[in-house]
Structures are given as structure tokens and as C-alpha cells.
Symmetry: D2
Subunit: 400 residues, 4 copies
């Protein structure tokens, strides 16, 4: 039986996360690195027929211009991973992939993102025209690479929050808004998500951009049997939060305050330094604690851009809690990790898992993928450990 | 139906943990404080007929002399809890309890503990004689206070590790060793544990002293229907470890090193500054990570005495882990808590839960209490969250 | 020779810093505590004829109502200092001082401060009328207590920044603005500072409020021989900064980023949560690094209100620096201290030192007091160690 | 005027510090990197005629075998500095230097160091023979490279402490001990130091090994006009200590405890994991605080080997201090730096400064170099800032 050929379309394909996804898949496919960080590489996922990493074909789009090879060298140098000998081996495939990275759209993404664009952002095309262009790009890439499946992953910079309107709730209403070419209804993230589902491509929103998985898109995905999931990959501070917060429940300790400070220096950090973009991120990060603890607490998330850190994210969280007889005590943690290297294995996992879900005829939201997201759509469970059990139970069910 | 009257016998009754247990039960019983930190005060344990806190009678023993009232004032001042008005209200009951605090034994506890003793430790009595004395103390206290049940809790300073011999494995062998008055076989902790089980008193070893719950004692407890559990209350660094370590599994990240540094300044810290006593503690703390992670890693636990900290335990843990493509990242945490205030609510929980178990006819080790201990006897599960589910399931089963 | 009798007028007299100043002076005066934290209690200041602490008379004003005794109990309980026995001894003198705490003014202090006021802030009096009232209060207090000298200390909550106008530059222009009753020219802090200097009272601005020591006030102080100094007591994060920053110079290491996060929970923190008040504080904290290092760097100070912390200030600073061959390394620090207990000894020092200066005929700014302030007026030196040498050299010169 | 030609003889030439010294000098000499971290590259040292970096000739010895090129690649990869393009440029000079790295001696260095040796350590030669061999190596290298001056730097792993005997106090006594071939008197570090001074080569002991600068060697250096200085380069935790400790003096705060934990993973860390070697290090680190603060305090330095950290040193220091009214507060710091990159610029500085001193006819200990050392010989001043002023004043004096 011929294996299915799977492609991955990365929105934001020149960013450091996308670069790491590509470099990672290439290295792993060639046996040049270990799959540390990937859950689908563990025993629990053996024999499920997941797409092999060495068969993935990569394409995508970006607002910037630039070479993948240089991006790869920059990221790998900053993070100290992969020897230059390995990078040399990847030059040829990276150059090949560069050809399939097209210019993207920045529709309604706000000033911070528009400023990143290689050429001035124009507003002369309708949203429908942009959707059609993107759908054609997906079809062309599938044809060019003879793909059985194409998974679309949103890795673009965080957009300002979408204000949900009636037009976002139902596919019909959304189509009518497109017909009327209503301004403000459609953001760049909506275009890629809607185009993906229309083309039957599984779609992952790894960002907090709320324009992507609007109800109209999720509903359509459910009806068409297209797996979709988001929002916002859980890679650092929130990951630790979702592991640590249950501790206080297991001891009946009252969390009084949980103040989190994130500093980071990559493109993402730069975009998040803009208040409207930051708002999306903080919304997505901030619900975890109250959902886990079940009571209101003084909790704030701060994100600041510190350019010298580059890809190294650092977070300091100060947790103040009340114990026996009203005593006040504290737990602090400091998390220091490379954003791209934390995110990339999750994305490879997600690509394989939504492709599997598609083959099994599952469509709409994928609650079993909750552990991968800061704000898992349709899931109330935020405890990391419980979310992980959901994933393991899914794997068991597939096997059975 | 008359409620059962329950007593608590604290070995190490003048230490700061015991003092906090007593002051805590008195305050809670009088409605002067909230039961924060006690799991048995949460909804899941409603209606199980647990012993009410205002009915508990306290007695115990210690090697030192001193007043409970002064100890209470010292602990409460150091930790900033309970107003002096509340402490004034407790003066009378504290004075009453002082009368029931007897002189303890320091048999084979090592030099560090002997030095604490108010009067020079003599070695002129046999272990059997000491066991008989303790049993009589238990019976006398039950009679004096008309108790239906007496729970014995070991809060004494950590002894040097017991080297397990044949005499510790079976009750018969142990009895024969007592008959022969063999030196070195019986430590102080063994005396209290054996006496408790012989008298049918549920027994909790809240310390790492391995002399207490030897197989001979556990076996007897099983046959007699006496609940026993240990070892070593999980109050701080190890608690955080057992909540955090699963995070790395949920992300398939390799923990390379986990180096933990504990500094503390109370009596416990002072005793643990002695290599032989520290050895017991470190053994008990050190198995958690390898048991949870399932692979060998560079992991060490360091404990140091810093007198100025008094009851405030501070721990810094540095966790070095490997992620995608071999990248190295880190998580650090700093835990700052009051030893006594972290331990006391666990002890009140345990007293109520072993009393419940006794009433239900359960004897021997109590695996559902694993979440309370650093080294839960007979339990391989070290993940805090899973241990907590074991406790909740037990509560559900009792109710059903 | 009769000793001079010295009074201290605290603006913001019911706040936790003022309370601690008073309680501290009373305890030290009675020999109930050690003068730890006071530089004037060290050998270098022996024999300079500084005002004895047991002779200080306290008065002041506040916008709030409330008792000093309760405030003292609250502060001392939160910070765990002074036994209740000691506080009992201070009840009588504290009650006496309460009588001399009058209602203050909130002129142009912004909404955050107005909200603290016990009675609604009215705007029916002119600035000149308020200045006259305050001058009379100073005179009355001096008379009542037969004081030779009255030192005025601003401990009120931080005001929004003053926009410097021509009217603030010269005394004449300021007087004319008062005559014209120009709105917006005079803030509460200006009233106390101007009144103090007019009355010949040495004045300390321990806050970042820039309305206090405007050029017109400083000029007048110089001409009248009245010592004044500010701004903003250096008690925590900035103190550490000014000690640590020279390290990087002593090693020719480039500081790339210095990101500082402050969380605190007292009234001060509450007022600083308002953007306009916070602006004053951040301005005052932010100049230290660039002044010490001598080059521009990415440096930001963040202040956030975390109510549960109460008087305990916590700061986390992340310092990213470049070393040999462009390597990036980091130093982090975590400072945990009680705001009031850090500030109070500095204030007692300053009171004694400006009283000394006045006696010696010195007027205007006091550069030798730079080490006490985050933004020492008229001083470019920000290195703590060098500032401290300035103070020691002054003491030597006085003695000589 | 022909410039003097200067050579550098590195004892421990294949270690990561030595490798970084060589790579650093080569890169700087070729203009491929900035001299960040070097004080002699700052303005204060302009025009003093210091030896140019591009003229330095390197040689040395080591117990291990191995190539400099591979060592350079390893160190640079671990620390993320210098691009591969730059390393490629250095291949040729590195290969050249490899030829001048000879086999060293491990006399009386203890088991931990002997185990590092490429060939089994033999004990068939007398100390005098070894000294003669080393002297000849120095002479040969000077001749081969036509050097005017050769500076010897000890970068070898820390030896166990030397027990000072009469034979170490005076040159005559030392010579007689050599004649008698007394066992235990001479360690490897003594051989290099004594040989250097005999040959008139300035000598730097960058390690805590107390066998190097024994009184007999220092005395001889003074008489012969040979500059020598040590001990133990101040690169990390102690550096921060010596900058921070004065803060507490500038505020009259009592340091109660200063507990420092160092974890590191390179060869140095491995050797220091042996108790006898660690003892030397801790002695050298531990005097700083009591010397600066002037009173006894609870202060301990802990060093632990954490292999995964490789060259990245991490230190956590917990400083507990008492402030006003007996309040207890804390300052913690976390230092994360690359050992080699912190040390290398200091060594290049020291080489240039002792060569300058030699030219100026200075011999014996060099107190103006105190800021470079954890335990500066003959200097009581441990405050970093004051030590740095000593260096600046020296530079001024040279210029004048």
C-alpha cells in the first residue's frame, strides 16, 4: 500500500518557528537528530500510521522576503543546536523549499505587522479575491508535489483581536459579508483558515489570533469533515502554569496572586510590544488559572520586548498563596527556553495528528489536542496532566 | 449516636510542627481560623463522618522540656500568623495540654538528637521496657480523656537510617530480638510505632526515620486491623517536584539534571546538618524523580542549615532539560514556605483519615494517603496529581 | 548647654512608612530596639552632635483619618517586627502624637490620591491660602512643643509629574502665580515644600513627586540657608542597581538589557497603579543605569500592584550582558524587603543630617545626601559606593 | 623602536579557558572580534605601551592530549560565540600553536587530576629534575619564537591544598628540600611557578592551588624583579559578592547568612567534585565576605558538578539580612555565565599588565591587580569597586 503523501503549508514560513519546523523535519527525516519534544515519537503513538517525517513536503507564505537557509543558520546559531556540518547537508532541500514560499496577505493585521511586510501592504483586492488566491495556492502546491493531504498551520505574528460579529457566526452570513465586501470583517488569519477548510485541508491555529477559527469556519469544518484546532501553542510560561496550578488544589492552598512576567526578543516579541497585538496574547494566556483554580484571583500576565534575548524566552512568575492559619508563602519560577525549539515539535505533532484525524473521518474541533494550546477551543480542561491523558486515551482508542 | 472521641499522641510534641498542629486544631475548633491547607475540609470529604477538630484531645512526648504556650508564641510570631488576641484565648487549653506531654526516649537516635535532650540520655532500660512504658502511656491517656481512639503521629527529629536486619522483617523475629535485648535493633521510632500498633492505635510516620514502619510493624498492623502510613510528609520542595516532573513527560522533554538546594533554620534543619541524619532525609526525597520520569538522571538533593531562616524553608531547584534538536533549556523554582504551617494541616488530615480507616476496618498500609508523603510506603505512584486522584477516589468509595 | 529640641513633620503621617518612622524613633529612644539600618548610628557619625532620637517630637498631616496605634499594629504584624509587649509600651506616646496629625491637602494630586481622602477634596481655597494654613501649622507645632527646629518630610503618595513652567523657576514668578491664583501651577507637594522653606524648616522630599523641590523652592532655600534634598528614597531595586551596575564597568562588560519588575501591595503600590502617578516613579528610577554606565541601553522599570503582598516589596531584575567574543550572559536578582522598614531608618538619618546642616549654616541642595535618593537633585553620581563616600567625607569634614 | 615580543605559556593549555584565551587573542589580533571584557582595552589604559594582542605567541603544557582546533570548536559551539567562518580562519594558527603544547606534570595533584592524564602519571623523576625540564621548555620556547618576554599563567585544574611547611617559606630552605628530594613538598603548581621565577618569567596563578605562590617563590620574585600574582581568577559568584557586599555597609544592614550554591559542568567542575580539590576552591572563595563586612556571619560556599551544564556556570546566592527593628529581608541572585569567556579576557589583561610591570622593574606581588582575584595575595581589600580604583590609580601613575 502506497503511503499517503502529506504536505505542510506554513503561514509565516520565514519566521523562526517555521524555520525550525522545517529544519527539524529535515534533520529528523535524515536521522541527524532525535525527536525529543515530540509526543508522537513516543511509544504510545507507535503503530498508528502517522505520517513519516521524511515524507513531509513544505511550502507556505510570508510577508517578508528572505532565504530559508540564512534563517536556519541564524536560528540554529542563536540556540546552539545542530552543527554546521548538519546545516550544510540541509542547504539543498532548504533551497528547494524556498521556491514554494509565496507572498502572503496582511489584511487587517494592524500597523505592527504591516510594518514587517517586504512591500507596502495594498488594500485593492477584496477578501474574496484573496481567499480565492490562497485556495489556488493550496491546490497548486498539492498538485506540484502530488500530495494526498495538505495541512495548513498558522504561525504568523499575532493579530489584534477580532471583534466577533454576526457575520462570523455562520458560513452563510460570512459568505454574504464576503459578497458585500464588508470592511473589517476579514483578517489575514480568517482568509487562510477559511481557504483551508474550503479546500478540505486540516488547519491548526498555533497563534492567539482570534480571526482564524471563527464559528463560521469551525462549523464548516465540522460539516466537511475537516479537522481544525487552536488557539495559541502552549510552549512556555502557560505550560508551566497548567502543570503547577493543580498543586495548590491538591493541598487546598489559596492562590492569592499569580503575577507573570515574560520577556522575549524575537519578531513575535516585537509585534507583541504593540498594545493591540499584545491584547490577543494576554487574553489567551490569562484564562488558564481561573479555569483551573475555579475562583477569582489577582492574576496578570505581562509581556515585554527585550531585543537582546532574541529567540530566548524568559519568564518569571511570582505566586503568592495563603496556607494554614492564613500564613502567606510564595513559589517563584524562572523559565528559560528557546521559543522556536519549544514550538516546533508541537507543530510536527499537530500536523501528524490532524492528518490522522482526517483519515479517520473526524471533522471540526479536536478536543484531544487540548494539551498543545493555551486556549484550546471547545475545551474547559486546562490542567496539563488531564489534557495529556485525553491525548493518550485518544491514541488508545485509535489503536483499539 | 454519641460521636467517637479521638485523641492525638504527638511524638516530638514541643517541636514547631506539633505546636502548630495543636494551635491549629484549637483555633479551628473555636472558629478562629480557616481550614486552608486541609483537604479533609473540602467538599469531597463532606459527610464522611470525619472526627471534628474541636473534639480532638492532644498529648504526647518530647526529649526537651518547655512550655507549649511559649512555643506557640514563638512559632506564630516567626510566621506572622494568628493575632495575639487569638493566642491569648488559647492559653488555657495549651496549659492543659502541657500536662500530658511526657518525657520521650532517644534510643539509638544518634548524637545530634541526644544533644537535644533535656536530661542526659541513659541506656539502662531494655527496649521491651521502653515499649511497655509507652504502651502504658497510651492506655493511661485514653483512659484519662475517655478516648475511643488514639492516633499516634511521629514528628520527632530525623534519626539516622535503620539498617534492616532479619529481626525487623517478622513480628516473631522482632519479639525474639526484644527478648534477647539485642543492641542496635530498636530505635526510638520503632518503640513508638510498635507500641502504637500493639495498642491498636493508628500510626503515622511523618518523618523519614526508617526505624518506624519496619516490615514487622506493618505486618502486625495488617493482621490487627490498624492503619499505618508513612514516610516523611511531603510539604515543600518534593511537593513541587512531584507536581512539576510530569510536565516533562507531557512534552517528551529529557530532564538532564535536577539539582535541588534546601536551606532551613529550625530544629529539624539543625539535626539534618548531621550527615547521618541527613542521609535518611535525602534518601526519602531522592526517589521521586526517577520514579516519575522512569529514566536515570543527574539529580541531587542538598540540605543545609541556615539558622537565621528559623521556620522558613527556602528551596532553589535548577532543572536542566533537553528539548528539540538537542537544545538545552532550564526551569528554576524558588519555594519559600513555613515548615510548620505546611505540615500541620496535613497531619490533621491524616489523623482524621486513619481514624476513619480504622472505623471502616482497614489495617496495614494506606496507599490512598500517598499524596501526603515523600516516600509513600507500598506505593510506586509519585505524581502528585495521580496520588490526589487516589485520595478522591477513596473518598468517593467511602461515600458510596 | 541645653540641647536643641527637634521636631519632625511628616506629610502622609498615617502611611506605613511614617508609622514606622515614629514607632522606630520611639523604640530606639527607649532602648527597645537596635538602630540597624541607620548610617548616623555608625561610628563615622559619633560625636557630630546629631539630634538624639529620644528627643524627637512628631507631628504631621494626612488625607486619611485613622489611628496611629492601629496603623502601628498593622505594620508591625505584617512585617513580624517588635513584640506586642513593646507595642503596648508605645501606646501612650502614639496616642499623644495622633493629636498632632492634621488633615492635609490633595491639591492637583490626581484622582488616585483624591480617592484616598477621608472627606471629599474641595477646591474652594487658593493655593496661597493653603500655604498660609500650612505655615501656621508649622509655627503652632513648634510653639506647642517648644521646638528649636522642625524638619518637614514628604512621605505622601506619589503625585502625577509636574509640568515645569516659568512660574516654577524663580521665587518672584512663583509668588506672582500665587497672586493670580493660576490653576495647575501648585500641587500639594509644592505647598508643603514652599511653606517649609518660608518657615526656615529643612525639607526632605522622600517621594518622586516633582512638584516639591521646584527651582523656585530650591533657590529660596539656598538664599535663606535652609537645607533641602530629594527626590525619592532609594530603598530597594534602585539601591541594588546602584550597587551592581558598577560591576559591569569594573569588568568592561556591556549591559544589553536591564529589565526590572517591581510588585508591591501597600497604599503606595495602589496609587502607583495609576498611569499618571506611576510615570513620576519610573522617571525617577530610570536614570540611574544610563548615568552609571554612560551608554544607552534597553532598560525598563515596571511597577505593578499586587495587593496580597501588602508592605512586602518584591523585585525581579533581569540583566542581560555581553562579554568576551560577543557572548551573552545574565545576572538576575530578587529583592524581598519591607518597604516601610527599609525607608524608615533613612528618614531618621536624613532628619538628623539636615538638622545638622542647618545648624552649620548650610542651605539649598545637600549633595552629600545623594546616597539616600533615587534621583538626587543636583548630583550626577549614581554609584552607591561613591555616593556613600561623599557622605563619609562630609562627616569627616564636619568633625575636622 | 622595535616592539618587545611577548609570549604566553599556559599551564593547562588544552582546557577550555586556555583555548578561549588563544582563540580570543587570535580573533582580536585579526580584528574579528571586540575586546569586550578586557579592562586593558579601555581608555584608561591607552598609551601605556601594553603588548599588542596580535603579537602574542602562545605555548604551554597539559596532562591531556588533544587538538586545539577541536577544543576551540567545542568551546565556541557550547557558548554560541564566533561564527564558523571565523573559526575556519583560525585553523592554521591554532595548528601551529598545537606544536608548542607539551606534556605536563601532575606531581602531588591528587587522584582526580591524575585521572585526567593521557598517560599514567609516573613518579620516577625528582622535583628538581622536573623543574629543570620546565625551565628548559621556557628557554627553548623563548628562543624558538625570539621572545623578549614570556609570561607563565597557571590554568591547570585545582590541586588539593598545600600544607605549608618550613621548606616553603624561604628559597634556601626550599632548595635544600629539593636537594633532599623530600616527598610531598613540591606540587605541580610549585614546579611551574618556581621555574618561571627562576627564568625571570612573570607568573600568574589564576587557580586556587596554594602550591604555586608559596612564600619562597614570592620572595625570590621580589628579589629578582619578577612580577607574580594570584590566587584564583574572580570570574563569577565571588565577583558579584565583592560588588554586592558593600551595599549592606552603605545601609548599615546586618548580613545574617550568605549561602552560595555553584553548579558547573566542565572539567573544572569535575575535578572540584573531589573533596580535597574542592577544599582549595572554597577556602579561596570564602574569605571575601568576612573581610568586606568585618564581622562573622553564617556564610557557606557550595560547589557541585552538574555535567549537563558544560561550560555554563550557574550560581544561586541567598542573602538573608536584618534591617530596621530587627526585620528579616532577603536578596537572591542568579548568575549564569560561561566560565571560559569570563576568565579569558582577565588573563589577557593580566598578561599585558605583568609584562608592563616587568618592564618597569617591578617585582614580587602586584597588589594593583587585586580586582582580578578571589584571594588577592597580600591585599586585604576585597571590595570590587575599591580594587578597581587601585588598578585605575596604577594606570594613572604609569602614565604620569
Amino acid at each position: 500500500m502506497r503511503e499517503k503523501k502529506v504536505g505542510v503549508w506554513l503561514v509565516g514560513a520565514l519566521g523562526s518557528i517555521a524555520t525550525t519546523v522545517i529544519v527539524g523535519a529535515l534533520s529528523l527525516g535524515r536521522g541527524l537528530a532525535e525527536p525529543t519534544g515530540m509526543i508522537t515519537a513516543t511509544e504510545a503513538f507507535d503503530g498508528l500510521g502517522l505520517a513519516p517525517l521524511d515524507g513531509l513536503e513544505f511550502g507556505g507564505c510570508d510577508l517578508r522576503r528572505g532565504g530559508l537557509r540564512d534563517a536556519a543558520r541564524h536560528v540554529m546559531r542563536e540556540t546552539g543546536v545542530l552543527s554546521y556540518e548538519i546545516l550544510d547537508e540541509l542547504d539543498e532541500p532548504l533551497t528547494g523549499i524556498e521556491e514554494d514560499i509565496l507572498m502572503g496577505t496582511a489584511r487587517n493585521c494592524g500597523e505592527a505587522i504591516e510594518r514587517l511586510a517586504a512591500s507596502p501592504v495594498t488594500h485593492d483586492r477584496t477578501a474574496r479575491q484573496e481567499i480565492e488566491t490562497v485556495r489556488r495556492q493550496f491546490r497548486d502546491f498539492k498538485k506540484k508535489k502530488s500530495l494526498d493531504e495538505l495541512v495548513v498551520v498558522n504561525l504568523a505574528s499575532t493579530e489584534p483581536p477580532l471583534v466577533l460579529q454576526d457575520a462570523h457566526l455562520e458560513t452563510d452570513a460570512f459568505e454574504r459579508a464576503l459578497d458585500r465586501n464588508e470592511p473589517g470583517v476579514v483578517k489575514a488569519s480568517t482568509i487562510y483558515a477559511y481557504a483551508a477548510v474550503q479546500e478540505g485541508c486540516p488547519y491548526i491555529n498555533f497563534t492567539p489570533s482570534s480571526g482564524a477559527l471563527i464559528p463560521a469556519v469551525i462549523g464548516l469544518a465540522g460539516r466537511r469533515g475537516v479537522p481544525v484546532m487552536g488557539n495559541d501553542g502552549k510552549t512556555g510560561e502557560t505550560l508551566v502554569k497548567s502543570a503547577l496550578a493543580p498543586l495548590f488544589q491538591c493541598r487546598n492552598l489559596d492562590v492569592l496572586s499569580w503575577e507573570g512576567f515574560n520577556i522575549l526578543g524575537n519578531m513575535d516579541g516585537c509585534v507583541l510590544d504593540h498594545p493591540e497585538n499584545k491584547e490577543s496574547k494576554i487574553k489567551s494566556k490569562d484564562q488558564v488559572l481561573s479555569k483551573i483554580l475555579g475562583y477569582p484571583l489577582h492574576s496578570r500576565v505581562h509581556i515585554h520586548y527585550v531585543p537582546s534575548l532574541d529567540d530566548q524566552k524568559t519568564a518569571w512568575d511570582f505566586i503568592h498563596f495563603r496556607g494554614f492559619l492564613g500564613s502567606k508563602m510564595s513559589l517563584q519560577f524562572i523559565w528559560q527556553g528557546y521559543d522556536s525549539l519549544l514550538a516546533a515539535p508541537l507543530i510536527l505533532d499537530l500536523v501528524r495528528l490532524v492528518e490522522l484525524a482526517k483519515r479517520r473521518g473526524e471533522g471540526g474541533l479536536m478536543p484531544h489536542l487540548a494539551s498543545y494550546f493555551k486556549a484550546p477551543l471547545g475545551v474547559e480542561e486546562h490542567r496539563l496532566y488531564e489534557q495529556f491523558q485525553m491525548l493518550l486515551r485518544y491514541a488508545q482508542a485509535v489503536r483499539a
